[in-house]
Subunit: 227 residues, 2 copies
Amino acid sequence: MAHLNIGSLIFDDLDQVDLTGPHEVLSRLPDSTWKIYAKTMAPARDMKGLRILPDALLEEAPQLDVLHVPGGFGVDAAMADPVILEWVRRQAMGAQAVFTVCTGALLLGATGLLRGKRATTHWASHHMLPIFGATAVNERVVEDGKFVTAAGVTSGFDGALHLAAKLRGTEVAQGIQLYMQYDPRPPFDSGTPETAPAALVASTRAAMASVLERREKAVRAVAAAFT
Amino acid sequence: MAHLNIGSLIFDDLDQVDLTGPHEVLSRLPDSTWKIYAKTMAPARDMKGLRILPDALLEEAPQLDVLHVPGGFGVDAAMADPVILEWVRRQAMGAQAVFTVCTGALLLGATGLLRGKRATTHWASHHMLPIFGATAVNERVVEDGKFVTAAGVTSGFDGALHLAAKLRGTEVAQGIQLYMQYDPRPPFDSGTPETAPAALVASTRAAMASVLERREKAVRAVAAAFT
Protein backbone atom coordinates (compact mmCIF):
# COMPACT_ATOMS: atom_id res chain seq x y z
CA MET A 1 0.00 0.00 0.00
CA ALA A 2 1.60 3.26 -1.14
CA HIS A 3 1.37 6.29 1.13
CA LEU A 4 -1.19 8.85 -0.08
CA ASN A 5 -0.58 12.60 -0.06
CA ILE A 6 -4.03 14.16 0.09
CA GLY A 7 -4.38 17.91 -0.33
CA SER A 8 -7.28 20.33 -0.25
CA LEU A 9 -7.31 23.81 -1.72
CA ILE A 10 -8.89 26.60 0.30
CA PHE A 11 -9.76 30.19 -0.53
CA ASP A 12 -11.94 32.94 0.91
CA ASP A 13 -15.70 32.51 0.61
CA LEU A 14 -15.52 28.77 0.26
CA ASP A 15 -18.45 26.81 1.64
CA GLN A 16 -16.80 25.25 4.66
CA VAL A 17 -18.68 21.92 4.59
CA ASP A 18 -17.28 21.31 1.08
CA LEU A 19 -13.95 21.13 2.90
CA THR A 20 -14.84 19.78 6.32
CA GLY A 21 -17.12 16.94 5.16
CA PRO A 22 -14.40 15.31 3.04
CA HIS A 23 -11.79 16.09 5.73
CA GLU A 24 -13.75 14.02 8.24
CA VAL A 25 -13.53 11.04 5.90
CA LEU A 26 -10.23 11.38 4.05
CA SER A 27 -8.16 12.35 7.09
CA ARG A 28 -8.97 8.86 8.43
CA LEU A 29 -7.54 6.85 5.53
CA PRO A 30 -4.77 4.51 6.64
CA ASP A 31 -1.24 5.48 5.60
CA SER A 32 -2.08 8.92 4.33
CA THR A 33 -1.23 12.55 5.00
CA TRP A 34 -3.81 15.29 4.61
CA LYS A 35 -2.97 18.98 4.26
CA ILE A 36 -4.77 22.18 3.36
CA TYR A 37 -3.06 24.44 0.80
CA ALA A 38 -3.75 28.10 0.11
CA LYS A 39 -2.28 31.08 -1.70
CA THR A 40 -1.41 32.77 1.60
CA MET A 41 -1.13 31.55 5.20
CA ALA A 42 -3.95 33.83 6.36
CA PRO A 43 -7.06 32.06 7.64
CA ALA A 44 -9.63 31.45 4.92
CA ARG A 45 -13.03 32.83 5.81
CA ASP A 46 -15.97 30.72 4.75
CA MET A 47 -19.10 32.31 3.23
CA LYS A 48 -20.68 32.56 6.68
CA GLY A 49 -17.57 33.56 8.63
CA LEU A 50 -15.98 30.32 9.87
CA ARG A 51 -12.21 30.78 9.77
CA ILE A 52 -9.96 27.86 8.86
CA LEU A 53 -6.16 27.89 8.76
CA PRO A 54 -4.20 26.46 5.84
CA ASP A 55 -1.28 24.13 6.56
CA ALA A 56 1.01 25.25 3.75
CA LEU A 57 1.34 27.46 0.68
CA LEU A 58 0.40 26.24 -2.79
CA GLU A 59 4.05 26.21 -3.88
CA GLU A 60 4.99 24.01 -0.92
CA ALA A 61 2.76 21.15 -2.06
CA PRO A 62 4.38 18.03 -3.46
CA GLN A 63 2.61 16.42 -6.40
CA LEU A 64 -0.52 15.25 -4.62
CA ASP A 65 -1.93 11.75 -4.99
CA VAL A 66 -5.42 13.00 -4.20
CA LEU A 67 -6.48 16.56 -4.98
CA HIS A 68 -9.63 17.85 -3.30
CA VAL A 69 -11.30 21.08 -4.46
CA PRO A 70 -14.19 22.58 -2.48
CA GLY A 71 -16.69 25.13 -3.80
CA GLY A 72 -18.64 28.12 -2.58
CA PHE A 73 -19.18 31.68 -3.82
CA GLY A 74 -15.39 32.21 -3.72
CA VAL A 75 -15.02 29.92 -6.74
CA ASP A 76 -15.79 32.84 -9.06
CA ALA A 77 -12.70 34.73 -7.87
CA ALA A 78 -10.56 31.58 -7.70
CA MET A 79 -11.37 30.75 -11.35
CA ALA A 80 -10.14 34.19 -12.36
CA ASP A 81 -6.86 33.80 -10.45
CA PRO A 82 -4.15 32.42 -12.76
CA VAL A 83 -1.98 31.23 -9.83
CA ILE A 84 -4.77 29.13 -8.33
CA LEU A 85 -5.99 27.90 -11.70
CA GLU A 86 -2.53 26.80 -12.81
CA TRP A 87 -1.95 25.04 -9.46
CA VAL A 88 -5.23 23.15 -9.78
CA ARG A 89 -4.46 22.20 -13.40
CA ARG A 90 -0.95 20.98 -12.65
CA GLN A 91 -1.96 19.07 -9.51
CA ALA A 92 -5.01 17.56 -11.20
CA MET A 93 -2.96 16.37 -14.16
CA GLY A 94 -0.50 14.54 -11.91
CA ALA A 95 -2.89 13.22 -9.24
CA GLN A 96 -4.27 9.69 -9.23
CA ALA A 97 -7.65 10.97 -8.02
CA VAL A 98 -9.29 14.38 -8.26
CA PHE A 99 -12.29 15.06 -6.08
CA THR A 100 -14.51 18.13 -6.27
CA VAL A 101 -17.44 19.08 -4.08
CA CYS A 102 -20.19 21.52 -5.01
CA THR A 103 -18.99 24.32 -7.31
CA GLY A 104 -15.43 23.06 -6.92
CA ALA A 105 -16.34 21.25 -10.16
CA LEU A 106 -16.49 24.63 -11.90
CA LEU A 107 -13.00 25.48 -10.70
CA LEU A 108 -11.77 22.15 -12.06
CA GLY A 109 -13.77 22.77 -15.23
CA ALA A 110 -12.00 26.10 -15.63
CA THR A 111 -8.71 24.22 -16.11
CA GLY A 112 -10.17 22.52 -19.20
CA LEU A 113 -9.71 19.07 -17.67
CA LEU A 114 -13.42 18.22 -17.50
CA ARG A 115 -13.89 18.55 -21.27
CA GLY A 116 -15.67 15.40 -22.48
CA LYS A 117 -16.09 14.13 -18.91
CA ARG A 118 -19.27 13.33 -16.99
CA ALA A 119 -19.55 15.49 -13.87
CA THR A 120 -21.90 17.04 -11.32
CA THR A 121 -22.02 20.15 -9.12
CA HIS A 122 -24.48 22.09 -6.92
CA TRP A 123 -27.97 21.95 -8.43
CA ALA A 124 -28.15 25.72 -8.92
CA SER A 125 -24.98 25.78 -11.07
CA HIS A 126 -25.50 22.44 -12.80
CA HIS A 127 -26.32 24.04 -16.17
CA MET A 128 -22.90 25.71 -16.23
CA LEU A 129 -20.87 22.49 -16.53
CA PRO A 130 -21.43 22.17 -20.31
CA ILE A 131 -19.85 25.61 -20.81
CA PHE A 132 -16.58 23.86 -19.90
CA GLY A 133 -17.37 20.98 -22.24
CA ALA A 134 -18.44 18.58 -19.48
CA THR A 135 -21.56 16.43 -19.56
CA ALA A 136 -23.72 17.48 -16.60
CA VAL A 137 -25.12 14.41 -14.82
CA ASN A 138 -27.87 14.79 -12.25
CA GLU A 139 -26.46 12.34 -9.71
CA ARG A 140 -25.11 12.88 -6.22
CA VAL A 141 -21.66 11.45 -6.97
CA VAL A 142 -20.27 11.03 -10.48
CA GLU A 143 -17.08 9.16 -11.33
CA ASP A 144 -15.39 9.45 -14.72
CA GLY A 145 -11.91 7.98 -14.78
CA LYS A 146 -9.88 9.60 -12.04
CA PHE A 147 -12.39 12.43 -11.56
CA VAL A 148 -14.96 12.14 -8.78
CA THR A 149 -17.39 15.04 -8.61
CA ALA A 150 -20.02 15.45 -5.91
CA ALA A 151 -23.16 17.62 -6.02
CA GLY A 152 -23.89 20.42 -3.52
CA VAL A 153 -22.25 20.89 -0.12
CA THR A 154 -23.28 17.85 1.97
CA SER A 155 -22.76 15.48 -0.97
CA GLY A 156 -19.07 15.69 -0.10
CA PHE A 157 -19.64 13.04 2.57
CA ASP A 158 -21.03 10.59 0.02
CA GLY A 159 -18.34 11.42 -2.52
CA ALA A 160 -15.56 11.08 0.06
CA LEU A 161 -16.84 7.68 1.24
CA HIS A 162 -17.00 6.57 -2.39
CA LEU A 163 -13.42 7.76 -2.88
CA ALA A 164 -12.28 6.18 0.41
CA ALA A 165 -13.58 2.80 -0.79
CA LYS A 166 -11.87 3.24 -4.15
CA LEU A 167 -8.53 4.14 -2.56
CA ARG A 168 -8.46 1.89 0.51
CA GLY A 169 -11.26 -0.63 0.11
CA THR A 170 -14.85 -1.01 1.23
CA GLU A 171 -14.11 -2.03 4.79
CA VAL A 172 -12.06 1.10 5.48
CA ALA A 173 -14.87 3.28 4.15
CA GLN A 174 -17.47 1.39 6.19
CA GLY A 175 -15.35 1.77 9.32
CA ILE A 176 -15.15 5.55 8.83
CA GLN A 177 -18.90 5.68 8.23
CA LEU A 178 -19.48 3.79 11.48
CA TYR A 179 -17.11 6.05 13.42
CA MET A 180 -18.88 9.19 12.20
CA GLN A 181 -22.30 7.59 12.72
CA TYR A 182 -23.34 8.48 9.18
CA ASP A 183 -26.88 7.15 9.21
CA PRO A 184 -28.55 10.34 8.01
CA ARG A 185 -32.16 11.08 8.96
CA PRO A 186 -33.03 14.48 7.51
CA PRO A 187 -36.17 15.76 9.26
CA PHE A 188 -37.52 17.02 5.89
CA ASP A 189 -37.35 15.81 2.30
CA SER A 190 -36.20 19.10 0.91
CA GLY A 191 -32.64 18.40 -0.23
CA THR A 192 -33.09 18.71 -4.00
CA PRO A 193 -35.11 20.92 -6.36
CA GLU A 194 -37.06 17.78 -7.34
CA THR A 195 -38.20 17.03 -3.76
CA ALA A 196 -38.43 20.47 -2.09
CA PRO A 197 -41.72 22.42 -2.17
CA ALA A 198 -42.00 24.18 -5.54
CA ALA A 199 -42.55 27.61 -4.01
CA LEU A 200 -39.38 27.20 -1.94
CA VAL A 201 -37.35 26.20 -4.99
CA ALA A 202 -38.65 29.26 -6.84
CA SER A 203 -37.83 31.65 -3.99
CA THR A 204 -34.38 30.09 -3.55
CA ARG A 205 -33.64 30.46 -7.26
CA ALA A 206 -34.82 34.07 -7.13
CA ALA A 207 -32.62 34.79 -4.12
CA MET A 208 -29.60 33.30 -5.92
CA ALA A 209 -30.31 34.89 -9.31
CA SER A 210 -27.74 37.67 -9.16
CA VAL A 211 -25.07 35.34 -7.74
CA LEU A 212 -25.71 32.84 -10.51
CA GLU A 213 -25.69 35.50 -13.20
CA ARG A 214 -22.32 36.78 -11.96
CA ARG A 215 -20.99 33.24 -11.81
CA GLU A 216 -22.10 32.39 -15.31
CA LYS A 217 -20.28 35.47 -16.59
CA ALA A 218 -17.11 34.34 -14.80
CA VAL A 219 -17.50 30.82 -16.19
CA ARG A 220 -17.99 32.07 -19.77
CA ALA A 221 -15.01 34.40 -19.52
CA VAL A 222 -12.70 31.58 -18.38
CA ALA A 223 -14.11 29.11 -20.92
CA ALA A 224 -13.56 31.63 -23.73
CA ALA A 225 -9.85 31.61 -22.91
CA PHE A 226 -9.40 27.96 -23.90
CA THR A 227 -12.05 27.33 -26.55
CA MET B 1 -38.96 37.79 15.72
CA ALA B 2 -36.27 38.37 18.35
CA HIS B 3 -32.63 38.36 17.26
CA LEU B 4 -30.81 35.14 18.21
CA ASN B 5 -27.29 35.05 19.63
CA ILE B 6 -25.95 31.62 18.76
CA GLY B 7 -22.64 30.50 20.20
CA SER B 8 -20.50 27.39 19.85
CA LEU B 9 -17.80 26.29 22.27
CA ILE B 10 -14.55 24.96 20.81
CA PHE B 11 -11.55 23.26 22.38
CA ASP B 12 -8.58 21.21 21.21
CA ASP B 13 -9.27 17.70 19.97
CA LEU B 14 -12.88 18.41 19.13
CA ASP B 15 -14.34 16.47 16.22
CA GLN B 16 -14.61 19.25 13.67
CA VAL B 17 -17.83 18.06 11.99
CA ASP B 18 -19.60 18.34 15.36
CA LEU B 19 -18.94 22.06 14.93
CA THR B 20 -18.99 22.57 11.18
CA GLY B 21 -22.18 20.59 10.45
CA PRO B 22 -24.33 22.72 12.77
CA HIS B 23 -22.48 25.86 11.62
CA GLU B 24 -23.60 25.23 8.04
CA VAL B 25 -27.21 25.20 9.21
CA LEU B 26 -27.40 27.62 12.14
CA SER B 27 -25.29 30.37 10.54
CA ARG B 28 -28.07 30.66 7.94
CA LEU B 29 -30.93 31.39 10.35
CA PRO B 30 -32.57 34.75 9.63
CA ASP B 31 -31.88 37.51 12.13
CA SER B 32 -29.17 35.72 14.07
CA THR B 33 -25.52 36.07 14.95
CA TRP B 34 -23.25 33.06 15.24
CA LYS B 35 -19.88 33.08 17.03
CA ILE B 36 -17.33 30.56 18.22
CA TYR B 37 -16.10 30.91 21.80
CA ALA B 38 -12.96 29.42 23.33
CA LYS B 39 -10.78 29.67 26.40
CA THR B 40 -7.97 31.25 24.38
CA MET B 41 -7.78 32.88 20.97
CA ALA B 42 -5.37 30.23 19.65
CA PRO B 43 -6.70 28.07 16.82
CA ALA B 44 -8.38 24.91 18.08
CA ARG B 45 -6.95 21.80 16.50
CA ASP B 46 -9.43 19.09 15.66
CA MET B 47 -8.68 15.40 16.38
CA LYS B 48 -7.27 15.00 12.87
CA GLY B 49 -5.48 18.34 12.61
CA LEU B 50 -7.95 20.78 11.07
CA ARG B 51 -7.38 24.18 12.68
CA ILE B 52 -10.31 26.50 13.34
CA LEU B 53 -10.13 29.99 14.82
CA PRO B 54 -12.43 31.13 17.63
CA ASP B 55 -14.18 34.49 17.30
CA ALA B 56 -14.05 35.51 20.96
CA LEU B 57 -13.10 34.45 24.47
CA LEU B 58 -15.55 32.67 26.79
CA GLU B 59 -15.79 35.71 29.03
CA GLU B 60 -16.71 37.93 26.07
CA ALA B 61 -19.90 35.99 25.35
CA PRO B 62 -23.23 37.61 26.15
CA GLN B 63 -25.89 35.32 27.56
CA LEU B 64 -26.48 33.18 24.48
CA ASP B 65 -29.93 32.36 23.17
CA VAL B 66 -28.66 29.15 21.61
CA LEU B 67 -25.69 27.28 23.07
CA HIS B 68 -24.03 24.65 20.87
CA VAL B 69 -21.55 22.16 22.32
CA PRO B 70 -19.57 19.85 20.02
CA GLY B 71 -17.80 16.66 21.09
CA GLY B 72 -14.66 14.70 20.28
CA PHE B 73 -11.84 13.18 22.29
CA GLY B 74 -11.12 16.63 23.78
CA VAL B 75 -14.32 16.41 25.80
CA ASP B 76 -12.49 14.44 28.49
CA ALA B 77 -10.14 17.36 29.20
CA ALA B 78 -12.92 19.95 28.80
CA MET B 79 -15.04 18.16 31.43
CA ALA B 80 -12.16 18.38 33.87
CA ASP B 81 -11.67 22.12 33.28
CA PRO B 82 -13.66 24.16 35.83
CA VAL B 83 -13.59 27.32 33.68
CA ILE B 84 -15.13 25.57 30.68
CA LEU B 85 -17.55 23.57 32.78
CA GLU B 86 -18.81 26.63 34.65
CA TRP B 87 -19.21 28.54 31.37
CA VAL B 88 -21.25 25.74 29.84
CA ARG B 89 -23.41 25.45 32.97
CA ARG B 90 -24.09 29.18 33.21
CA GLN B 91 -24.78 29.60 29.49
CA ALA B 92 -26.95 26.47 29.35
CA MET B 93 -29.04 27.64 32.31
CA GLY B 94 -29.80 30.98 30.65
CA ALA B 95 -30.17 29.84 27.02
CA GLN B 96 -33.52 29.18 25.38
CA ALA B 97 -32.05 26.21 23.48
CA VAL B 98 -29.05 24.00 24.21
CA PHE B 99 -27.77 21.77 21.41
CA THR B 100 -25.10 19.12 21.78
CA VAL B 101 -23.57 16.93 19.10
CA CYS B 102 -21.77 13.63 19.70
CA THR B 103 -19.96 13.52 23.06
CA GLY B 104 -20.81 17.18 23.59
CA ALA B 105 -23.72 15.61 25.50
CA LEU B 106 -21.22 14.31 28.07
CA LEU B 107 -19.80 17.80 28.57
CA LEU B 108 -23.33 19.08 29.12
CA GLY B 109 -24.03 16.08 31.38
CA ALA B 110 -20.98 17.02 33.44
CA THR B 111 -22.74 20.25 34.45
CA GLY B 112 -25.52 18.21 36.07
CA LEU B 113 -28.16 19.74 33.78
CA LEU B 114 -29.07 16.49 32.01
CA ARG B 115 -30.17 14.80 35.22
CA GLY B 116 -33.62 13.30 34.63
CA LYS B 117 -33.52 14.28 30.94
CA ARG B 118 -33.73 12.08 27.85
CA ALA B 119 -30.58 12.44 25.72
CA THR B 120 -28.34 10.81 23.14
CA THR B 121 -24.65 10.86 22.18
CA HIS B 122 -22.16 8.95 19.98
CA TRP B 123 -23.03 5.24 19.97
CA ALA B 124 -19.72 4.23 21.58
CA SER B 125 -20.28 6.47 24.62
CA HIS B 126 -24.04 6.04 24.86
CA HIS B 127 -23.82 3.91 28.01
CA MET B 128 -22.12 6.77 29.86
CA LEU B 129 -25.12 9.12 29.83
CA PRO B 130 -26.82 7.45 32.82
CA ILE B 131 -23.72 8.14 34.92
CA PHE B 132 -24.86 11.77 34.77
CA GLY B 133 -28.43 10.81 35.60
CA ALA B 134 -29.70 11.12 32.02
CA THR B 135 -31.90 8.58 30.25
CA ALA B 136 -29.95 7.34 27.23
CA VAL B 137 -32.22 7.15 24.19
CA ASN B 138 -31.07 5.34 21.04
CA GLU B 139 -32.34 7.91 18.53
CA ARG B 140 -30.52 10.20 16.16
CA VAL B 141 -31.93 13.41 17.62
CA VAL B 142 -33.53 13.65 21.06
CA GLU B 143 -35.43 16.68 22.36
CA ASP B 144 -36.31 17.13 26.02
CA GLY B 145 -37.53 20.60 26.87
CA LYS B 146 -34.91 23.07 25.73
CA PHE B 147 -32.24 20.40 25.32
CA VAL B 148 -31.61 18.96 21.87
CA THR B 149 -28.98 16.24 21.77
CA ALA B 150 -27.75 14.57 18.59
CA ALA B 151 -25.92 11.24 18.23
CA GLY B 152 -22.43 10.86 16.71
CA VAL B 153 -20.69 13.42 14.46
CA THR B 154 -22.81 13.67 11.28
CA SER B 155 -26.07 13.62 13.28
CA GLY B 156 -25.36 17.29 13.94
CA PHE B 157 -26.88 18.10 10.53
CA ASP B 158 -30.15 16.41 11.46
CA GLY B 159 -30.17 17.95 14.94
CA ALA B 160 -29.41 21.42 13.58
CA LEU B 161 -32.21 21.22 11.00
CA HIS B 162 -34.59 20.10 13.75
CA LEU B 163 -33.46 23.07 15.85
CA ALA B 164 -33.69 25.46 12.89
CA ALA B 165 -37.33 24.47 12.38
CA LYS B 166 -38.04 24.88 16.08
CA LEU B 167 -36.46 28.35 16.19
CA ARG B 168 -37.42 29.80 12.82
CA GLY B 169 -40.08 27.51 11.32
CA THR B 170 -40.19 24.60 8.92
CA GLU B 171 -39.81 26.63 5.75
CA VAL B 172 -36.54 28.19 6.90
CA ALA B 173 -35.15 24.76 7.75
CA GLN B 174 -36.27 23.34 4.41
CA GLY B 175 -34.67 26.26 2.58
CA ILE B 176 -31.34 25.61 4.29
CA GLN B 177 -31.62 21.90 3.49
CA LEU B 178 -32.22 22.75 -0.17
CA TYR B 179 -29.29 25.17 -0.27
CA MET B 180 -26.91 22.57 1.18
CA GLN B 181 -28.39 19.86 -1.05
CA TYR B 182 -28.88 17.59 1.93
CA ASP B 183 -30.30 14.54 0.21
CA PRO B 184 -27.84 12.04 1.65
CA ARG B 185 -27.00 8.87 -0.25
CA PRO B 186 -24.41 6.97 1.81
CA PRO B 187 -22.74 4.40 -0.44
CA PHE B 188 -22.88 1.84 2.39
CA ASP B 189 -25.29 1.04 5.21
CA SER B 190 -22.68 1.10 7.91
CA GLY B 191 -23.57 4.15 9.98
CA THR B 192 -24.69 2.45 13.20
CA PRO B 193 -23.59 -0.57 15.25
CA GLU B 194 -26.97 -2.15 14.37
CA THR B 195 -26.41 -1.91 10.60
CA ALA B 196 -22.62 -2.19 10.15
CA PRO B 197 -21.02 -5.61 9.64
CA ALA B 198 -20.63 -7.27 13.05
CA ALA B 199 -16.89 -7.88 12.63
CA LEU B 200 -16.36 -4.21 11.85
CA VAL B 201 -18.31 -3.14 14.93
CA ALA B 202 -16.21 -5.49 17.05
CA SER B 203 -12.89 -4.24 15.65
CA THR B 204 -14.00 -0.61 16.00
CA ARG B 205 -14.99 -1.18 19.63
CA ALA B 206 -11.63 -2.88 20.27
CA ALA B 207 -9.74 0.02 18.67
CA MET B 208 -11.64 2.51 20.85
CA ALA B 209 -11.44 0.49 24.08
CA SER B 210 -8.66 2.44 25.78
CA VAL B 211 -10.17 5.78 24.75
CA LEU B 212 -13.54 4.73 26.14
CA GLU B 213 -12.04 3.42 29.35
CA ARG B 214 -10.23 6.72 29.90
CA ARG B 215 -13.41 8.65 29.12
CA GLU B 216 -15.53 6.62 31.50
CA LYS B 217 -13.02 7.35 34.27
CA ALA B 218 -13.27 11.07 33.51
CA VAL B 219 -17.07 10.88 33.46
CA ARG B 220 -17.23 9.04 36.80
CA ALA B 221 -14.82 11.50 38.40
CA VAL B 222 -16.92 14.51 37.37
CA ALA B 223 -20.21 12.81 38.27
CA ALA B 224 -18.86 11.98 41.73
CA ALA B 225 -18.40 15.69 42.37
CA PHE B 226 -22.13 16.45 42.20
CA THR B 227 -23.84 13.23 43.29
